[in-house]
Symmetry: C2
Subunit: 106 residues, 2 copies
DNA sequence: AACTTGCGCAACCGAAAAGTTGCGTTTATA
DNA sequence: TATAAACGCAACTTTTCGGTTGCGCAAGTT
């Protein structure tokens, strides 16, 4: 069973869950209410999120509150870095082109 | 068949392909050589990448060069934005705590 | 003109994922 | 103490995914 952050965010429901529990901890039932799906389905998603360490749980009585471990999201950010470098370079290259054109107009 | 960028980057081989064609356009065969996989498998990945508009193709004779459309990667970056806001806030909060502790030591 | 190469496409297959159902357990409530 | 609520877990079903095989086609080569 291969589990990584990229697979975790592949599912749209999971992305929505992540978006919600990023702001505040929530219970599976509370989450299920938001998405027109069953508690069990949400529970399974939470299990997956737990497996790739994207989520923290806190037990309060019979309720379990899940919250996002935001730092883990940095892994995606880190992977994106290489491309960010590229699109910024291309942008600055375009910038150069524009400057040159401007100069040639003089 | 619903295809989005997040699903595209879920597969590790696809991420590797993306990493390569970000730098320079490559043919399916050239890509296949890098990954110890068949041309057809790569071709299928490229098809998926094309479907979610992550890739550009350029035909040169009987060869087809594929290149990443880097701008599309910004979609991921944009989604990450909300979390970046959170982890930066938390970090600065931690920063505050550290400052306070430092002051109390005096 | 025959042959090779580079490719896409469609059909197929096995494995994994997503969702559903039905438990059992723990905690709260009547 | 009986009942209800909140959950996890395991079994099962359906769908999707990644890969392979086998075409066919167009572009070069001999």
């Amino acid at each position: 069973m291969r589990r990584d952050v990229f697979q975790a965010i592949a599912d749209p429901t999971r992305r929505a869950i992540i978006g919600l529990i990023a702001l505040q901890a929530m219970t599976p039932n509370a989450l299920a209410e938001q998405f027109d799906t069953t508690r069990q389905a949400v529970s399974k998603h939470l299990r997956i999120l737990t497996e790739c360490e994207l989520v923290q749980q806190e037990n309060r009585g019979r309720e379990i509150y899940y919250q996002l471990k935001v730092e883990k999201m940095k892994e995606i950010d880190h992977w994106l870095e290489q491309f960010r470098a590229i699109w910024e370079t291309r942008f600055s290259q375009l910038d150069e082109v524009l400057k040159t054109m401007k100069n040639e107009q003089k």
